[in-house]
Subunit: 170 residues, 2 copies
């Protein structure tokens, strides 16, 4: 099983920490399948065509990290087996998977939208990710955002100095 360490620089932001959990090969594809409803080892393996050894490792890592839980079940005329279900912590990775999907749909497909469409369960309208602020403005992208760094151990933020925030290289 993959051991999650602090070796990556987490001091600047949490991206590296999250990648320590979901950044290995196949991890995010396993999650994609989980979000599509897949729960069983054999189904993950069939859909992804990943080697059993790696799948075993990725599932075990997710269980260890609290992203999936291992739940016993007993199917018709079969012995007891386990299935893997998303926890709340795992469900909260949904935006990450959607972000990857939206980018792929925009830049890698045929321009017709990707093979999977997401709809609001209540109203049926297409669903997308949006950058919003707490004053309820809808932002256009990275240029509308200013990043500030909070020094370790304090509750205060200061502006980034050496690294200009994204607007400076428009």
């Amino acid at each position: 099983m993959a051991v999650i360490t602090n070796e990556m620089d987490r001091s600047r932001c949490s991206v590296a920490g999250t990648l320590a959990v979901v950044g290995e090969k196949w991890s995010l594809l396993v999650l994609r399948e989980a979000f599509l409803g897949v729960r069983r080892f054999a189904d993950f393996q069939r859909n992804l065509e990943v080697s059993r050894a790696v799948l075993t490792d990725r599932l075990a890592t997710f269980v260890e990290q609290g992203v999936l839980t291992r739940v016993p079940y007993h199917a018709d005329g079969q012995r007891e087996r386990h299935e893997y279900r998303l926890t709340t912590k795992g469900l909260d990775l949904y935006p990450t998977v959607v972000a990857l999907m939206e980018w792929g749909d925009r830049y890698l497909g045929d321009g017709q939208g990707g093979p999977i469409a997401l709809q609001h369960r209540d109203c049926g309208a297409p669903v997308r990710l949006a950058l919003v602020c707490d004053d309820d403005h809808r932002l256009d992208g990275a240029y509308d955002v200013e990043a500030t760094v909070r020094p370790r151990g304090t509750g205060r933020y200061r502006a980034i100095e050496k690294a200009p925030s994204s607007h400076t290289h428009r």
Copy 2:
């Protein structure tokens, strides 16, 4: 340089395709730095502590994929060098990086919010990712979304059959 192929299953959704571009080790951390304003080889290398060989490969892959452009510049008393700037295609990966950051802030940090805060440039309010639908509803998460598969080559969608969508395993 990494060669991007179609070998990963793109038929089910675009996640695998996007991961073919940004899924290798260090790729998303290079992008994180780019979004913080880093442009030069030596700065990426210093901030990430990644080996030069890998950094060279990741930057070259991004340039080849149109995520970064290589722009010559001439600094004070230095010979001409190149810097790497985000293209529109690259800037559109911002939600992916923010999604990773938000999850890390929520589950890996001290609960005080992560080391980097994002604010709306216009109004200063905190910025976050949200799932929204075209009827302007704000969704809570994966359970509010229904995924439908569009068969290859058609413009129509049908409901997923074998793999139940996420609400079925609440």
